[in-house]
Symmetry: C2
Subunit: 356 residues, 2 copies
């Protein structure tokens, strides 16, 4: 094995420079931004938060009161108008999915780099418009697939690329949490136009994208099924299951739920061995990577890293070095088309081929 597992959580992407830290505008101040993104940036090496953007000045100022270094507190309209745009270098967009396009577009207008949460938008068309806006303005757009800078996922990818388990034949994965039980019925999550879906898109994108990342391949066809049991969740996909078809016969089978116990796993079965990861998809949970093959047999329980800090530092360090961060908008478009196909498939009961 060529893979260096001794320094398991090393930042293989990192190259410190003399550049100033990248200054972020946090666009959208929901719980994820407040409890995950802002603390992650506070502990990060290559970036800092200098602007806060929300629905009201009051809300932005409330959040700013607990933070140091905030230079601007803006409404979405003020942000769109380019107010105080000298106060930040990049925008982190974390709002209901259906608002991503306009906030990404505003950042592009102001020539700011963008880190946009996933899924990229509520529809393929709006996602395409967001990507186009960044391409036309020539600003970097990275979509926030934080698993792609999670050391466990990176080591898994290296091991599989290095042939540790032979050719991948089967993949099984799952992700579940209690999100629907923790929001009220007025939540944007129940609004199809704003959310683009409930569970298959919101957390289905984790196994979907992470499988693509580790396998280094895109699915050719999908099948999906949605279920909703609780009356309050009628019309949503409270639970879901999907299959992905890759080239050379590789099949992936996954389940997701927004109203089950918090849990996640991903397993790759190959011609010569297997690799599984427990606890993969949540930001700071203990991960366990087990790998078994002709040249390697082991269990790794690395000290958990803050996935959000890794992601922000990666994005910022790339910008400092004058490099585009990845995964970019075109990469995200593949997930958008796959998610649309999930819902088409769930509606029709048939598999849907992807035109990639």
């Amino acid at each position: 094995m060529e893979v260096d597992l001794d320094r398991f959580s090393r930042r293989d992407w990192e190259e410190p420079t003399d550049a100033d830290p990248i200054r972020f505008a946090m666009v959208g101040l929901g719980w994820w931004t407040r409890e995950q993104a802002i603390p992650a940036v506070e502990s990060a090496e290559y970036c800092t938060t200098t602007a806060l953007v929300s629905s009201s000045t009051e809300k932005a100022e409330d959040v700013a009161a607990d933070l140091e270094g905030i230079e601007a507190t803006l409404t979405y309209d003020e942000y769109a108008d380019g107010e105080a745009s000298d106060a930040y270098d990049a925008a982190y967009v974390c709002t209901p999915n259906g608002f991503h396009r306009e906030h990404v577009g505003a950042a592009a207008d102001h020539e700011k780099a963008v880190l946009c949460e996933k899924p990229l938008e509520a529809s393929v068309e709006d996602a395409r418009a967001a990507v186009d806006a960044c391409q036309e303005a020539d600003v970097p757009l990275m979509v926030a697939y934080r698993l792609q800078t999670e050391p466990v996922a990176r080591r898994a990818r290296e091991l599989i690329r290095d042939g540790a388990i032979g050719d991948v034949v089967s993949i099984v994965g799952h992700m579940s949490d209690t999100v629907l039980d923790s929001v009220d019925e007025t939540s944007w999550r129940f609004d199809r136009d704003l959310a683009g879906g409930t569970t298959l898109n919101d957390i289905g994108v984790y196994p979907l994208n992470t499988i693509r990342f580790i396998l280094e391949e895109d699915p050719q066809a999908v099948y999906a099924r949605t279920e909703s049991e609780q009356p309050a969740y009628e019309g949503t996909d409270e639970h879901g299951a999907f299959q992905l078809e890759f080239s050379e016969g590789t099949l992936a089978s996954c389940t997701v739920s927004h109203s089950a116990s918090l849990s996640s796993s991903l397993r790759f079965v190959g011609t010569d061995g297997e690799l599984s990861i427990e606890g993969l998809f949540f930001p700071t949970t203990q991960k366990v990577l087990r790998v078994s093959g002709p040249g390697i047999e082991g269990e790794f329980r690395p000290e958990p890293v803050d996935q959000m800090r890794e992601e922000f530092d990666y994005f910022a360090n790339r910008l400092q070095r004058g490099l585009d961060p990845e995964p970019d908008g075109e990469h995200a478009m593949v997930d958008m088309r796959a998610i649309r196909a999930f819902y088409e498939s769930a509606e029709s009961g048939s598999r849907v081929e992807l035109d990639l």
Copy 2:
């Protein structure tokens, strides 16, 4: 928790009697019978092997030469004619699937109890005929789902029944082995009429039936996909993936392969916790059961039992007590219809509802 986990591998079904051991005719002397079934019966408490049935007297006598207590060595024709039928009480049928019907029917004709390997037959119609033959002759028919007497599966069922993880929402499972790589191209496994399929039926039946057993519910609809990559396996389902829909929104996603690394697992995610089992489906591998819920948190690595011995002893002990062994033919018919639906679905690309 009401579940007794201290005596993890106890035989909760066992009740010794003064009855004589059940004498088995082994019908079909392929590697599974020789290397798994016969040694299992040799170490069993309630049964013994007294007759061997094969394609030729010579083959039966060859196998008999290494064994004690064999009273009859028969060809299939002699067995069908009822020769030496006083020498055995029950038949263990382990031939290519498409011959099960005739061997089960012969046992029924001779008023012998039957333990028939799974899947029960190559087609729903022939399986139905085998079940009917036993019902008409009023002989017990058990289908050899050995997981149903595997202590890990029984404890998992008890834990879930007892509410250890709440309501089951999602299930993911997989099973893979190298069977296709170990047989030559003339194998009955490549003959659709004899085998009834390649992988979705032959090992798909393990997660399918074990999920039914642990969940105590039957699927209402299925979707499946098959893949075949290697030229030698053209026209077979070398790899497969399937989804099962249960009532109340429970979804199961599984993958299977007959040409990948030997591996298996099954995981139940519930509203309040989760339960997973590693290594479940193979006869003597180490099993690991992990369960996490409000009333329980633990990992169990019981000393592996010989699944085949447990199954034979259970079957024999039931007969000694004058009780019908389970799972019976009607239980197996549900799998037969589900497997037919798998292949229909793989052909059409659409989900298939089961008429149960």
